[in-house]
């Protein structure tokens, strides 16, 4: 049996070729953004979960004899305090590790709350239409016209700084984008046949929103939530840095930076390590978010 010449000369596309296990692993590595994932695991997730186990010291134990010890590689540094200590003798490394827990907790809570409320309002606005839609979207417009950092500062001034305030304030800053995005998506889904059929079959509005529209906007919500985590970490650390977020001696990255700012000339390690923790975490989160967006929801590209 002879094979036609043309068929022989055309190489098979790589994706169709038989691949061994190794090939599959390599494929996955290429498709998954491995470096950002590793950075995130090392800087954020693992420290957040295992902070109590891996932190070498208590992050809030004052130790006045070890104040302002430099990092281990500088003269006067010791292996006990790898990244040095601050003014109160707190171990910087331990505080960064515990700070990851704070950052992650605030991000998850604030995005859960803001994203949840925004999604519900977006669904409601799209499905109900009419005055409900008008009212919700006007509020969204006003929220988006207000410079966020100022709104946050006013709210913190009113509620007083602290963990709950920060979560609430950030949630308040976030919901509008979710509402607007979900509404836009839901509007086009609402017009499709299966929604009309569900209505004819007697499904309640709540059921239609929750079981028929929501699953179709879920990807969008997940992508937006991921993209917002970096934003939330920036907001939280900025508020703490300004003295309008978390309060001392909570091991929050922004607070550590604020504390180190005044000693930037004599003890650079105080501001430098927490700053890098923030920058690298947000960078990795943004890369991951971009990747997720391209995979799940390319429509969001210009958001």
């Amino acid at each position: 049996m002879t094979t036609p010449v043309a068929a022989q000369s055309i190489p098979e596309p790589a994706s169709l070729r038989e691949r061994g296990t190794l090939g599959k692993v390599l494929d996955t590595v290429r498709r998954v953004p491995i470096i950002p994932l590793v950075i995130l695991l090392v800087l954020l997730v693992i420290p957040a979960i295992f902070a109590d186990v891996i932190a070498p010291h208590d992050p809030v134990r004052v130790s006045l004899t070890n104040r302002l010890a430099p990092p281990v590689w500088l003269e006067g540094g010791s292996t006990e305090y790898l990244l040095g200590t601050d003014r109160q003798g707190f171990d910087i490394l331990s505080r960064i590790i515990h700070g990851a827990r704070i950052s992650l907790a605030i991000s998850l809570l604030a995005i859960g709350l803001g994203g949840g409320v925004g999604t519900v309002l977006g669904l409601l606005a799209a499905y109900r239409g009419g005055w409900v839609d008008t009212v919700i979207m006007r509020i969204v417009d006003i929220k988006l016209a207000f410079p966020s950092i100022l709104l946050a500062l006013v709210l913190v001034a009113v509620m007083g700084p602290g963990f709950q305030t920060v979560v609430l304030v950030i949630a308040l800053l976030l919901w509008a984008r979710f509402a607007r995005m979900v509404r836009g998506e839901a509007l086009s889904i609402k017009e499709q046949d299966f929604i009309a059929r569900a209505q004819v079959a007697g499904a309640s509005p709540l059921r239609i929103m929750a079981r028929h529209i929501f699953p179709n906007v879920f990807n969008t919500v997940v992508v937006l939530a991921t993209l917002e985590i970096g934003h939330v970490i920036i907001l939280e650390s900025t508020l703490s840095f300004l003295g309008a977020g978390l309060v001392k001696p909570t091991p929050a990255w922004g607070l550590m930076v604020a504390d180190g700012r005044t000693l930037i000339v004599t003890a650079w390690w105080l501001f430098f390590f927490p700053t890098m923790a923030i920058v690298l975490t947000v960078l990795a989160m943004n890369l991951l978010g971009d990747w997720l967006r391209d995979r799940l929801d390319p429509k969001l590209r210009n958001v």
């Binding site: 100022l150 709210l155 913190v156 001034a157 009113v158 970096g230 300004l242 309008a244 930037i264 650079w268």
Partner: protein, 307 residues
Amino acid sequence: MQRYIFLRIIQAILALLVISAIVFALARVTGDPVAILLPEDASPKVVEQVRAKWGLDQPIYVQYARYIGNFVQGDFGQAWAYGGVPISELIIRRLPNTIYLASFAWVVSAAIALPIGVLVAVKKDSPFDWAGKVVALLGQSAPSFAIGLLLMWVFAVILGWLPTSGNDAGFKSVLLPGMALGYYNVAAVMRLTRSSMLEVLDTEYVKLARIKGMPERKVIWKHCFRNALIVPFTYMGLIGAVLLTGSVVIETVFVWPGLGDLAIDAIRNRDFPVIQSVVILFATFYIFINLFVDVAYAYLNPRIRYN
């Protein structure tokens, strides 16, 4: 067009009224301002006098109306802290510093971002392009205080070229805060210029200009750049608003005596008249710059005149 402008102005004023009402109400829900102003054991008579003096004995909507009336005339009331000086005095003293810083940052970001945006578009997929992407990504990922502190550390502490903070070293002292404030926008404007340039580079008239044998430099600057400018230019307008509010953070980092610094100070002292005035003033700038940009954009690009 006139209708569009008119509607946008009405919209802006409404937004401003709502925002100022929210801020005003928020400042009141924290409790009786008199409790903050006076010691706990103040006699009821003194409390009454203070109430009357600050107009706090009136219903809240009267207080609000009076406040807005005065605000429009440039009378922002008196600060609780700072020995009760008129807030307008505090603002007039600090506003020029903030405007100076913000305009410097604006010029810096335009001067850096536009040419680099063009360069990375022309040299697409070259090392320049990649470097540009890294700069843009960093701009998205680093909070402005981080950029500010890193710049301060390198140029003021390690190299010792520039002062670490304050504004008493003339032009030298605005360089670091200005760059830190402008950085985020450099990234954004650069990206916009790049994509907008790429679009124009792909058009028929640019191809024609090249076929005619026009020198490449002329093609890029005369034919492409001018047409690609609309989008980044509108954005540069919006940035004016972003820079003003962004100065809150940068002024704190560099101890720059501007409005943002005043706002943070007031928040630490819970000085609500000052917080209220500064925030409403910032919101006014923000909304009116946005309004101006929208109108300018509608003028430049007739396709978006909806409504």
